[in-house]
Every structure is written in structure tokens, then in C-alpha cells.
């Protein structure tokens, strides 16, 4: 199926402009006609949460330990509720591993932060001519039909910037928030009537400028006004307020940015958001890697990630929510002169679970020193294809980039079959 998001939204936008009082009317009419189906849609709508480990996490110390190898580092593996043995400093995640599967056979080529971040988020290497949409934009775009009553952005990035919507356009850009859940500048402090009068006047200016054929940026701006207004007046914004959760729940997730981010992710998915990316940075451990991991990164990750899996499971949301844990690459088996590990893309791990994924497994294998993959290697495209498959998104989907070039979803990656059988 060929689908041109730009044309679609342009037509949609022009319909908005059809009447003088067009600001909100068509949207509301549309919503009402679909509301009857909303309950039904809500009952099996899919979502995904990406736990993004910015900087390149040392997966050889977390998910694919090499005890006894010269490069193995000081951490010991422990048994889990699944097949995998993982790092001793992740005991709470170990208790949830029956829900999660480790892919130990990622083998990629981008070992630069910027390029790796782009590649792992989009399935494409950076290109001078096309900007590709990231996971969140693609998935939000594909799952939009399942949530017609969503008034807040379908793609939220907590505590990091994620990667942009590329040719899908600003409507699918990540809504970037801090983990404290306080969205700035929500109140105009005027009565609603005056706000709407201003909006109607603004509409006249926007339309005048758009009609002069000056390009997409003018159209995108008008769309973002619409989305912003929708969000400002929405009760769904409550989902950002993690402070509404009990002390016990907040404690369970951990009283830090990543813990609050994971809790917010669960609240947002409950409210209908399709894709949440939660950022835990600080994995670029070129120096003193082991104390940094043991004292800081791993306890934070252990608490929040285990809480998220447990919470989604207890609420009956886990089977509809995919979880992806990854960074831009792994780190060298070799321990460098500063007791750190450097960038390494040739052999590393990611973790997935939920939605259609089978939990509790280990997929793939690396050599005894962790320096190479000895089973079938997988790349970013394969992982992305697998996530789409888990969410019920057809891999036959083809986008048309703004240049008219057809682009297959997930860059024609192959589904990693072992994640599903």
C-alpha cells in the first residue's frame, strides 16, 4: 500500500481551513462520529516504550557477561526467571526476565554517537538528501487510527530529544518533556472566548501566508498551532503528572529522572499515547566504567525498568505494549588504559518484551571474549521490523518520501523470528 502522509495531512489541513470558524469544528465532528468505536479501539490498541540508553551502554557488563574471559570485567552473572543470565547488579530485572528477551547478536557499523543514534532510531544511516522518521514517529503514525480521541501528542520523549519525524512532518515530532512532568507554558491566563478570538484572527494570517505557496514550513506551523491548542485544553494532560501517583508507586520506580520517566511512560500509554521514549544518559563510560555502572547506572536502571515491566503486567497492559531497551551501540570488550570501555558496534545486545514478543528467551550468541557475533547477526532494520511486527504493523507498508522515493517501513529489515516462536 502506498501512502503519502504529506498529501494526506495537507488535504486534511485544507479541510480545516474551509470555514471561517474552522479552528475546532471539523475535528470535533470527526471525533464524535468515531467515539462510538473508541471503547472497542481502546481495548486492543498497541503502544511501545523505548528505554533509550544514551552514550552506548556496555552490554557485555549487563546482558551478555563473559566471566573468566580476560575482557569480562568484575561483574558476575546471576540466574533469572527467564533463560538469560544477567549482571548481578540487576536483581530486580532478573525477577522480571520471564517477560523479557535478550538479543545478544546485534552487529552494526555505526560507532559514532550521532550516527549511531540516528541509525538505531530510524533503521537508516544518515543521508544528505533524506531525513528518515524515527521509531516514535513511524509507530505513532501507523497506530494513529487506534486512538481517534487522543488529544495529546502520540509520541512523547521524556528526558531526551529522541530523533525527529523526518519526511513524515512536524505533526509526528516527539513532544519533548522533562521527567518532572511539568509541561511549561500551558496557561494563557485569558478567558476562553478571548483565546478563541485570537485563534480565529491568527487563522486569517496563517491561511494568507500558506496561500502564497511559500512551502511546507508555513503549513507545518499551522498544524502545530492546532495540535498545541488541542493539548492546552485537554484533560489527558493529567497523564504527565507523576506526582498524582502514590508514594509507594513512585518509590518502586525510583526517585530519579529515569524512574519518574518510566512511571510517566506507563501513565501516558494508559492515556492513549502510542510511543514513549524515556532517556537514561551517561553510558559513555570511557573511564572508570565499573564503579559508574555498579553505583549509579545499574541501580537506577534495575529499579525503574523492573517496575515498569511489573506494573504493565499487573495492569494487563503488557501484552499490548512493546518494550525496547537499547542504546546507539555497545562497548569494547577490551578495557582501556583508563579502566573504561570504548565505542563498539560489532557485537552487542538489546532487550525487548511485551506486545507480541515472546518473553524469557535469549536470542543469538557472541564469542567467548564478546568481540564478535557467532550466530546470525542482526542490524537496526531487523530490530525495527520485529518491533513493528510485534505491534501488528504491516511490513508491506511503504512510505513515499517527499522526493517521491518509495521507502519501505523499517528499511526492509527482516523480522527476527526467534523473538516470536
Amino acid at each position: 500500500m502506498v501512502y503519502t502522509p504529506y498529501d494526506m495531512s495537507r488535504r486534511h489541513f485544507m479541510r480545516h481551513l474551509a470555514g471561517a470558524a474552522a479552528w475546532a469544528v471539523p475535528a470535533i465532528t470527526l471525533t464524535q462520529s468515531l467515539r462510538a468505536h473508541a471503547e472497542q479501539l481502546r481495548s486492543n490498541r498497541k503502544a511501545a516504550i523505548l528505554l533509550w540508553m544514551g552514550g552506548g551502554p556496555s552490554t557485555i557488563d549487563l546482558w551478555d557477561l563473559k566471566p573468566g574471559a580476560a575482557t569480562g570485567g568484575p561483574f558476575r552473572p546471576i540466574a533469572t526467571t527467564g533463560d538469560a543470565q544477567i549482571c548481578e547488579h540487576l536483581p530486580m530485572i532478573a525477577a522480571q526476565m520471564k517477560h523479557l528477551t535478550v538479543v545478544r547478536s546485534m552487529s552494526t557499523r555505526e560507532a559514532d554517537h550521532q550516527r549511531g543514534r540516528y541509525y538505531m532510531h530510524t533503521g537508516y544511516v544518515p543521508s544528505a538528501s533524506v531525513e528518515h522518521p524515527s521509531y516514535g514517529s513511524v509507530i505513532a503514525h501507523e497506530l494513529a487510527d487506534q486512538r481517534p480521541d487522543l488529544e495529546i501528542p502520540p509520541f512523547v520523549a521524556v528526558g531526551g530529544g529522541s530523533v525527529g519525524p523526518g519526511f513524515l512532518g512536524m505533526s509526528w515530532a516527539p513532544f519533548v518533556v522533562n521527567s518532572d512532568g511539568r509541561v511549561k507554558n500551558l496557561e494563557m491566563g485569558l478567558d476562553r472566548q478571548r483565546v478563541m478570538q485570537r485563534m480565529a484572527a491568527l487563522q486569517v494570517l496563517e491561511k494568507g501566508f500558506i496561500d502564497q505557496d511559500r512551502g511546507l514550513a508555513a503549513v507545518d506551523h499551522a498544524k502545530m498551532l492546532d495540535k498545541t491548542l488541542s493539548l492546552m485544553t485537554s484533560k489527558q494532560m493529567e497523564a504527565f503528572k507523576v506526582s498524582q501517583e502514590s508514594d509507594a508507586v513512585r518509590e518502586r520506580y525510583g526517585n530519579n529522572g529515569f524512574g519518574r520517566g518510566c512511571l510517566m511512560a506507563r501513565r501516558l500509554v494508559e492515556a492513549g499515547v502510542s510511543f514513549v521514549e524515556v532517556d537514561l544518559g551517561g553510558w559513555d563510560n570511557h573511564q572508570n566504567i565499573f564503579p559508574t555502572l555498579q553505583d549509579d547506572k545499574l541501580p537506577t536502571l534495575d529499579r525503574a525498568m523492573s517496575a515498569l515491566v511489573e506494573d504493565l503486567d499487573q495492569r494487563g497492559m503488557f501484552n499490548d505494549t512493546a518494550i525496547i531497551w537499547m542504546g546507539e551501540f555497545g562497548r569494547t570488550p577490551r578495557i582501556n588504559g583508563d579502566s573504561g570501555r570504548d565505542h563498539f558496534a560489532r557485537a552487542w545486545s538489546v532487550v525487548v518484551g511485551g506486545a507480541g514478543f515472546q518473553g524469557g528467551k535469549v536470542v543469538g550468541e557472541t564469542s567467548d571474549d564478546g568481540a564478535s557475533v557467532v550466530s546470525e547477526p542482526y542490524v537496526s532494520q531487523d530490530l525495527m521490523a520485529s518491533v513493528c511486527h510485534a505491534l501488528g504493523i504491516s511490513l508491506d507498508r511503504t512510505f513515499t518520501s517527499r522526493s517521491g522515493r518509495p521507502m519501505k517501513i523499517a528499511n526492509s529489515g527482516k523480522v527476527i523470528k526467534d523473538l516470536f516462536a
Binding site: 554517537h113 530529544g161 515530532a173 511549561k184 507554558n185 484572527a201 496563517e206
Partner: protein, 579 residues
């Protein structure tokens, strides 16, 4: 929401009795620009003729008809934004649009570049741009940062105000030694470029120097030969070797262990082997084999291999090699063209190897060689770019040039002006100037500090050792929320005593003239008929509010209506897009 809206619209139509006469604008009382200065006639500048010839040839090669000329107001707004980093005031705009001379464009550019009235703003704008280029938007704002952002800006401001030749600027930044913080003995703000780039064997110093000054992306070749550009791993380490005598020395606040500033210094380098007179460094190939590297510039030029300063100052040699190379002029010409036209000849502008062919190779080469011949004079380069025909074109596309759209993945042909969003800094400065709030913001440093504080809300650091970052001032929802409701816009739309809008409201101009004034201030044009109509409706709506409140509201209806109009203007696509 809809209910309110429809009810208002209906009633506003039926009670629409407000009659505002529309008078044509006069231009009385506006200062005429100093036209006595002799301006070089563009027609006599061979560079402009050659640029035009090359552009026209490429338009005809691609079968594109260039867009019509931008209106004087659009072009004037463009020039103020690009040279001074803000929109023109109404006076400045009208001074330009009322000129009739054939060379009025050249006059305006000359005025902004050379009139001492504008020196500070010109220098501030280029300082802002170059601070972001050199250390990023977050540089100096990190916890326990060793970079002194204000120190770098002091250096840059002085350099741009004196129009320092670009080769000298580059050399100074690459070779600087001294203290990072203003007021310290041996202060040299230029050291802040490299202050935090020396960690991990000067990885960032190597990558950023190559990227910014040579237009070469070498960072990936640290660990392996690049998969698709021609740079090899040995070249990375040979370039890296130039930085290995350099140290960022921490200087502490007396009696504490708090770092006060750094001192960038060159010291004898013993090398990683055993012979300082032959100071080599080692790197590892992907197959585990270890190789040695000595300083060799990207064009193959070798320098002494000694690590002793008495024999050779490696960074000094690098500064000389960079500024002697053609890479420097090609990189800056590409960057500046991109800054003014929205796209450079390559994308990104700082990745110019053979793997990334430029869109206009002949024009790029020509500009680079002319720039070298003009002794790296940035203002001369700016004259060529701002007075070339592509920069004068409208952003309105036609059937015959709409296909020229770099957003579609096409190389730019510059057959019409490409829309681009104002930078956050441009928005900030524009609002200060447009609301005349720039007069009482304290000293230069205090003002810059307040701006820096405001800008920080948009910057997201990725938390890697390489200081990667992004901005949410990119047209997404947080930006729109800030424009709708943020402090800066609240401040700009204040109507209390002494505010910009209260002064406009109190002016004896007719209401129609007041609205026109706001349109000129925000968009550099007069309102259209539908825009006048909707402004009139807002005016009437605020009058109805006042009658309902029996005058108990503290804001006079005229001021409240102007507030609405001004808010709408600031939130429009036409305002936030440089067009």
C-alpha cells in the same frame, strides 16, 4: 470550545459596527539614511556579475525560472535578520522602503556593515552564531564546566567588531594559549574553543577543528577507516598528533578545590613511546594491530616529529597549515552561503569531502578563491552574498520553480528563497527591539546572561562525551507553547504603564494606523483587507468587554485590542519564518 467560538463569531458579525477609517501611511518624521557615503556600485563589482552568471546558468540548465523579486519589506527584514540577528524597526524599515535610488540595496547592506550605529549589533549576531558553532548551545552551561562562554563571547565580539580577517580568527582559535576567564591574568577568550576538547586524547579538538575550519568530518575515522569517505584512520591520528602538546590546566579558587578557570598551555610532549625528540602516538587498527602516528596535515605536509616546544610548537604549525590551505576558504564560503540562503552547497555544510559533491562546484570554487584574494574579509563576502540575485528572490514559488525544494531531497538550486525558522536568538533579539525593551536591560554582559538563561530551556544535551545536543526550538509543540504563553511573549505583549503597547495605544495615531504600525513592526508589511477586518473585530470585541465590565477592567479596550493583534502577529507563521 466550539460553542464559545461560534457564538462569538456570530455576534461579532451582527454587531460589527466599528468603523475604522483606513488612511494611507505617511512617512513623516523618519530619518533618511546617510546617502552621502559613496557606495560601490554593484554593477562595477565583477564578483557580483560572475555569481549572477553562474546562478543563471544553473537555473537555465535545470529549466527553472527564478521567482520574482522579494518585496522591499521582505528583503529588508531578511537583511536585518541575517546581519543583525533581529527584524528591522518600523523607522528602519520605512527609511529603506522609501528610498528610490537604484543602489538602495547596496546602501542598506553598507550601512549595516559599516555604520558605527550597528557595529555592536552586527558583532553580537556573529558572536552568537559563532559561539554556537564553536562550543554548541550548551557549551559553558554544563555542570562544573571548564568552558567560559562569556570569555569566548568577549573574544568573538571584539574580533567581529574589528572585522578581523577570517584566517586570523581561525589561527587564533586553533593556537590560543592563556586564561579562560575575563579579568584573570593572561586572559584570552579564544582558549575557550578548545578548553573542554582535550579529554580522551584531544578527540573533540581534532574532530571539531577539522569539521569547523576544514569542512571535514573525521570523527568516525578515530577507530576505523571510514566506510564511505576517503579519510583514513592514520589521517585522524596524524591530525590528532598536533594537539598532544596542549593541556587544559585547572586553576583553583584560592584556598578551595573549586576550579575557577583554566589555562590553556602547550608543554613538552614525551610521546607514548620512549623518545621525546621523536614523540609518537599509538592507535589501534580494528584487527588489533598497533600503529604509530606523527603530526601530518590532511594534505600530507609533515612537520618535525619532536615533542619539545623548543623544536616545534605543533599547534602553531597546525594554525599555519590550516590557514594556508584552501580548505579554510571553501569551508567558510559554504557555511556563510548556507547561513544566508538557508542551504549551503553541501548538506551538511561542514562535511565537504569528495563523497559529498557540492551542488554548485564552480560557484563554490569561485567564491572561495575570490575570498582568499580579498584577504579573508568577511564583510566583503557578506556583500557578495547579500547582493547576489538569489538572495533577492521571493520565497513565493511558481509552477516553474516549486520543484526546487531541498526538503524533497533535491540539491538546492536557489531559484527562490527557502523559508526557514528564526533561530531562538533571533526571536529573542527581535522581540526586544520590536517592543523597544532593549534600552533598559542593564549592561551588555547582564543582557547576554539573561538571554543565555532564556535560551537554555530549549537545549537538550545528549549526555555523551562529545557534547552532542539538540534544540526544542524547532517548530514543535514546546516552542508553540512558549510563543502562546511564555514569559518572553507575555512581556512583549504587556499593556501596563510604560509598556510598548501602552505607548502605541496612547499615541494620537488613528486605530487603523496603530494596527498598521504593529504589522510593520512584526512582518515588515501593511495588513491586508481580511487582516484589517479581523483586527477590527478584535477591537470591537474588546470594546464589548469594556462595556460589559462597566469600565471596571483596568485595561482600556484599545490597548487590549492591540494586545490581541500583537499576540496574533507574533504567533503567525509569517513572523517566525525568515521569508
Amino acid at each position: 470550545m466550539t460553542g464559545f467560538f461560534s457564538a462569538w463569531w456570530g455576534s461579532a458579525v451582527t454587531v460589527f459596527v466599528c468603523v475604522i477609517t483606513w488612511a494611507m501611511a505617511g512617512t513623516e518624521g523618519l530619518a533618511a539614511p546617510d546617502a552621502t557615503k559613496s557606495i560601490p556600485d554593484p554593477a562595477t563589482q565583477p564578483q557580483l556579475a560572475k555569481i549572477e552568471e553562474l546562478l543563471r546558468r544553473s537555473w537555465s540548465d535545470y529549466g527553472l525560472s527564478p521567482a520574482s523579486r522579494a518585496t522591499d519589506g521582505e528583503w529588508c527584514r531578511r537583511v536585518y535578520l541575517d546581519l543583525l540577528g533581529r527584524v528591522p524597526t518600523v523607522d528602519e524599515l520605512q527609511a529603506f522602503t522609501t528610498l528610490r535610488e537604484r543602489d538602495k540595496d547596496a546602501q542598506l547592506v553598507e550601512r549595516l556593515l559599516t555604520d558605527s550605529l550597528y557595529t555592536e549589533e552586527y558583532a553580537r549576531n556573529f558572536t552568537t552564531l559563532w559561539t554556537n558553532i564553536l562550543i554548541g548551545r550548551n557549551g559553558g552551561n554544563e555542570d562544573r564546566s571548564l568552558t567560559n562562554r562569556a570569555g569566548l563571547q568577549k573574544y568573538l565580539r571584539d574580533s567581529f567588531a574589528r572585522n578581523k580577517p577570517y584566517d586570523q580568527l581561525a589561527r587564533e582559535l586553533i593556537t590560543a594559549t592563556g586564561a579562560s576567564q575575563p579579568g584573570r591574568d593572561g586572559f584570552n577568550g579564544a582558549v575557550n574553543f578548545l578548553a573542554m576538547k582535550l579529554a580522551d586524547d584531544a578527540m573533540l579538538a581534532t574532530a571539531d577543528t577539522a569539521r569547523i575550519f576544514l569542512g571535514l568530518q573525521v570523527q568516525c575515522t578515530q577507530c576505523h577507516n571510514h566506510p564511505f569517505n576517503e579519510w583514513k584512520q592514520n589521517q585522524y591520528w596524524e591530525l590528532n598528533a598536533f594537539f598532544r602538546q596542549t593541556r587544559s590546566l585547572r586553576r583553583f579558587e584560592a584556598g578551595t578545590n573549586e576550579v575557577a578557570y583554566i589555562e590553556l598551555a602547550d608543554q613538552d610532549f614525551g610521546g607514548e613511546g620512549t623518545t621525546p625528540q621523536d614523540a609518537e602516538i599509538y592507535y589501534e587498527l580494528r584487527n588489533g594491530q598497533v600503529k604509530a602516528a606523527y603530526p601530518v596535515f590532511v594534505d600530507g605536509t609533515k612537520i618535525s616529529t619532536s615533542g619539545y616546544l623548543a623544536d616545534v610548537r605543533r599547534r602553531g604549525e597546525l594554525g599555519r597549515l590550516v590557514t594556508d590551505s584552501e580548505y579554510l576558504s571553501r569551508a567558510i564560503v559554504n557555511r556563510m552561503w548556507g547561513q544566508f540562503l538557508g542551504y549551503g552547497f553541501t548538506k551538511p555544510v561542514d562535511d565537504m569531502g569528495p563523497h559529498n559533491a557540492p551542488s554548485h562546484p564552480e560557484l563554490l570554487d569561485y567564491l572561495a578563491s575570490e575570498f582568499r584574494a580579498a584577504n579573508y574579509d568577511l564583510k566583503t563576502l557578506i556583500r557578495w552574498i547579500t547582493l547576489n540575485p538569489a538572495y533577492r528572490l521571493s520565497s513565493r514559488t511558481t509552477k516553474s520553480n516549486a520543484s526546487d525544494d531541498p526538503l524533497m531531497g533535491e540539491p538546492p538550486k536557489f531559484s527562490h528563497f527557502y523559508l526557514r525558522q528564526l533561530r531562538a536568538e533571533e526571536l529573542y533579539e527581535s522581540l526586544l527591539v520590536a517592543t523597544q525593551a532593549d534600552q533598559n536591560k542593564g549592561s551588555y554582559e547582564e543582557r547576554e546572561m539573561a538571554k543565555n538563561e532564556w535560551l537554555r530551556q530549549f537545549t537538550i544535551a545528549f549526555g555523551t562525551d562529545e557534547g552532542d545536543e539538540t534544540t526544542t526550538f524547532n517548530g514543535s509543540i514546546p516552542q508553540v507553547l512558549m510563543m502562546f504563553n511564555g514569559e518572553l511573549v507575555k512581556e512583549a505583549t504587556r499593556v501596563d504603564a510604560d509598556s510598548f503597547l501602552s505607548r502605541v495605544a496612547a499615541n494620537p495615531m488613528s486605530p487603523a494606523k496603530k494596527i498598521e504600525f504593529l504589522y510593520l513592526a512584526a512582518l515588515a508589511r501593511k495588513p491586508t483587507r481580511p487582516e484589517i477586518d479581523v483586527a477590527n473585530k478584535l477591537w470591537e470585541a474588546r470594546a464589548i468587554d469594556a462595556r460589559r465590565d462597566h469600565g471596571s477592567g483596568s485595561i482600556p479596550p484599545g490597548a487590549a485590542a492591540l494586545q490581541d493583534v500583537w499576540w496574533v502577529l507574533l504567533n503567525s507563521n509569517e513572523f517566525i519564518l525568515n521569508h
